[in-house]
């Protein structure tokens, strides 16, 4: 019995230490989506260890509140959430169970990326008859790369508060990030110039911010309403509209009902482009910059 107890104690000790050594003196940062994790890595540099819960190949609205995420949050020094109810179906219940005072709403270790973002499509009236409409507006603002600047500032402010001794480093990283981003924005604007004014259809309102930034016009969505699957009648109307407007591209994330998207594209003479909702959704978009390099080039190539 004694030996058995000693064995159990040893195993538990090893587990506990295994769970605690890997971050070293770095602060542990958990981001809800990979897009935010990328920015956090650029701002935090070697002072942080960043993990993301969701990548661009999955719908960030519909994650399960898996206990393994709860364990991640329990050990986090900083939690970066998108906000705007993107994660409302799973993050609150995880934070409730995580027993981590550092990341409770309003705590110094909680970053809400949405703070300071100019939100689009803010509803004037809330009714579920309109589908999954979010009271703060469309939460997919990370699809506009220019918003990364505001997000980076929000992240930098929290990192400086959590590790004040590294403030100078974080601020320098923020300046470097902004410069890098400004240059990249010019590059992406240049890439996208030939398709300025092009009409597109998206499956969900995921790319509204991207379209506004690069002058694309979203004339409709495959979904009848946010989160509501299209009926045959709706699809017929949409296809007619797509033909009339001369829609060239349909953008759909890999997790959508691609058969329906392909049907609408085929019937209207448009091309279906499968695009991850953000970073980490395919091998080409491993970080923020490579993701938008890939997305802009792919859209332009597909429009030819």
């Amino acid at each position: 019995m004694k030996q058995f107890l000693v064995m159990i104690m040893t195993v538990v000790t090893v587990w506990v230490s295994a769970a605690h050594v890997d971050a070293g003196d770095k602060i542990r940062v958990v981001a809800t989506i990979e897009d935010l994790a990328c920015i956090a890595r650029d701002i935090g540099g070697d002072a942080v260890m960043v993990t993301a819960i969701a990548g661009g190949a999955q719908d960030p609205h519909f994650l399960d509140a898996k206990p393994s995420y709860l364990v991640q949050l329990n050990r986090a020094d900083v939690l970066i959430e998108n906000g705007g109810e993107l994660e409302v179906g799973w993050l609150p219940v995880l934070v409730n169970g995580a027993r981590n005072r550092k990341i409770l709403p309003g705590s110094p270790g909680r970053v809400t990326a949405m703070n300071g973002i100019a939100m689009l499509e803010v509803p004037t009236r809330l009714s579920r008859a309109e589908g999954d409409v979010h009271p703060y507006g469309n939460p997919h603002f990370t699809t506009d790369p220019a918003n990364a600047e505001v997000i980076a500032q929000n992240i930098c402010a929290v990192f400086c508060a959590v590790v004040p001794t590294r403030t100078a480093k974080f601020r320098a990283n923020l300046v470097a990030f902004k410069e890098h981003l400004d240059a990249a924005l010019k590059r992406w604007q240049g890439t996208m110039a030939p398709v300025h004014g092009m009409k597109i259809v998206t499956y969900h309102k995921t790319f509204s911010y991207f379209a506004r930034r690069f002058g694309l016009e979203v004339v409709g969505t495959i979904e009848a309403k946010p989160g509501v699957a299209p009926s045959p009648g709706y699809l017929a109307e949409l296809v007619a509209k797509m033909k009339a407007e001369g829609v060239k591209l349909v953008l759909a994330e890999p997790f959508r009902d691609l058969k329906v998207a392909q049907f609408a594209a085929d019937k209207s003479g448009a091309k279906l482009l499968i695009t991850p909702s953000g970073v980490g959704g395919n091998a080409d978009g491993r970080d923020l910059f490579s993701y938008f390099d890939w997305l802009t080039k792919t859209i332009v190539a597909a429009a030819k």
Binding site: V12, W15, V16, A18, A19, H20, A57, Q58, D59, H61, F62, D64, A65, K66, P67, S68, L70, V71, N74, G83, E85, V88, G89, W90, L91, P92, V93, V95, N96, G97, R99, R101, L104, P105, G106, R110, T112, M114, N115, G116, I117, A118, V122, L126, R128, D132, H134, P135, Y136, G137, A146, N147, E149, V150, G227, V228, P254, F255, R256, D257
Partner: protein
């Protein structure tokens, strides 16, 4: 402030003059009083000076803040389209319980929701017998239409230290409307060492149903498992009390729960169930609490592992022990184990496709005290259910459950041997409404022809803001 000072001076002067008239003229005393007055005056002046200073400091701070705000607004305007909220003003933070929508607009103090669950039912058994088969308080247990459960939920942050949750349920049983406070508890948010305390009226964290899905609208079936009704009665195991849980610092999820609750009433069915009820033929005395040994204790260990990005396996073990009301020293112990596996691909469409497989086994050792016509005995019952829910195509789910339960009394509807198969299919109009068709075929020893059939058409709708559910 000034008039206050004058008032004090006048009061002091009046007191002095009164004193003088009482004691007669005394130069010594007048001098002393004048001195006191001067001291008072000086103290008051000091206070006023200090307050003046405070006011100036505050004014300065307000000015600085406004200046900072201007600078920040300018900075924000410089790099982005005019933000809806300046970045240094905290946005309303999504509260710990904020679901897809709130009542009362963005930033309300709590989420309020109403969930209605109703069913049309038909059974080969007449209502009295059907009631024994559909033992759950929220099961459709009569032919015709049943309002199973209308749940009013209030959830939110109480203050920085607690969350509050309350569930008030209404059901209509044979024309009578019953209202009960199903749960009302607070949960701590600030405790150290990975601890969390829950206190109030709540479901004991026993098994998968008690821990993750105690409310009927979260079930994949129209009725509760047979063994659950046998062990915990019509309304589940819930009573006033307190529980502590600890999240272990292991790399995988491991949580330990311990609760102490009152053991009385129908919501502690296998324990101090109400006077006048019977169990296995014995009359229940409805004994009351004498010492802490008369409370109900529930222990649970819950664990979960991600096998890969698509597969999660959870396992738990629970036990509940406390007194029972067949006699003064009789007690009951219930043990349970549960396993839950879920497959869901990373690229899922609103959660589809998925497969969930849940199995729970429970055993009860019920010490029945000696009563007229009965000798003392330990009654052993056990049972299990295993169920698979397969979300094969959005928005369809088909599920199949097998129930098995066994006691030692073929004539007792709650202690006979019984097998039930329940296939069903559910259509989700959205996350907030669903329609379900279920068939139950029952093979129970206590029935005259040993066999019963039932069909349920169940629907659910939910209004308002309801907190996200556990995994």
């Amino acid at each position: 402030m000034r008039s206050y000072r004058i008032l004090i001076c006048l009061t002091l002067a009046l007191a002095a003059s009164l004193n003088a008239t009482e004691t007669g003229f005394d130069p010594q005393q007048i001098l002393k009083q004048l001195q006191e007055l001067r001291q008072n005056q000086q103290q008051l002046q000091q206070t006023i000076a200090q307050q003046q200073k405070t006011i100036e400091t505050l004014q300065k701070q307000v000015g600085e803040a406004a200046e900072k705000q201007k600078v920040a607004d300018k900075a924000a305007a410089a790099f982005a389209p005019p933000p809806t909220a300046p970045s240094n003003v905290p946005m309303p933070q999504p509260s710990a319980s904020q679901p897809s929508f709130r009542i009362g607009g963005v930033g309300g103090y709590m989420d309020i929701s109403l969930d209605v669950l109703a069913a049309a039912a038909w059974s080969s058994e007449a209502d009295a017998s059907m009631r024994n088969l559909q033992f759950g308080g929220h099961d459709p247990h009569a032919r015709g239409l049943t309002l199973q459960n209308a749940e009013l939920a209030f959830q939110g942050a109480v203050d920085p230290y607690f969350r509050g949750d309350a569930f008030i349920i209404t059901q209509i049983d044979r024309g009578e409307t019953n209202v009960e406070l199903e749960e009302a508890f607070l949960t701590t948010t600030q405790l150290p060492w990975n601890l969390q305390v829950k206190a109030g009226q709540f479901f004991s964290e026993f098994g998968r149903i008690g821990t993750s899905m105690p409310h009927p609208h979260t079930w994949d079936f129209s009725d509760q498992p047979v063994v659950w009704g046998r062990m915990f009665g019509a309304d589940g195991l819930r009573n006033p009390g307190a529980r502590v849980s600890w999240l272990a610092p292991t790399p995988f999820y491991l949580e330990l729960f311990g609760a102490a609750q009152n053991a009385n009433g129908g919501t502690a069915y296998s324990f101090l169930n109400s006077q006048g009820q019977t169990f296995a033929g014995r009359t229940l005395t409805g004994r009351t609490v004498h010492n802490i040994g008369d409370l109900l204790y529930t222990l649970r260990a819950s664990s979960s592992f991600d096998l890969d990005d698509e597969n999660t396996l959870s396992a738990g073990a629970s036990s509940a022990f406390g007194p029972n009301s067949t006699g003064d020293h009789a007690s009951t112990v219930i043990y349970g184990t549960d396993v839950y596996w879920k497959w869901k691909p990373v690229a899922n469409d609103h959660g589809w496709p998925f497969v969930k497989w849940t199995t729970e086994a429970l055993r009860r050792d019920y010490e029945a005290a000696e009563q007229t016509g009965f000798s003392a005995a330990t009654l052993n019952d056990w049972g299990l259910y295993t169920e698979v829910a397969w979300g094969f195509q959005r928005p369809w789910v088909t599920s199949f459950r097998v129930d098995y339960a066994e006691g030692n009394d073929p004539a007792d509807s709650q202690r006979d041997r019984r097998v039930r198969f329940s296939p069903n299919v559910t259509y989700y109009f959205s996350e907030f409404s669903k329609l379900r068709l279920q068939y139950d075929v029952d093979m129970a020893q206590h029935l005259n022809d040993k066999l019963a059939h039932a069909v349920f058409l169940q629907f659910e709708f939910m209004l308002g803001a309801h907190g996200a559910h556990k995994f």
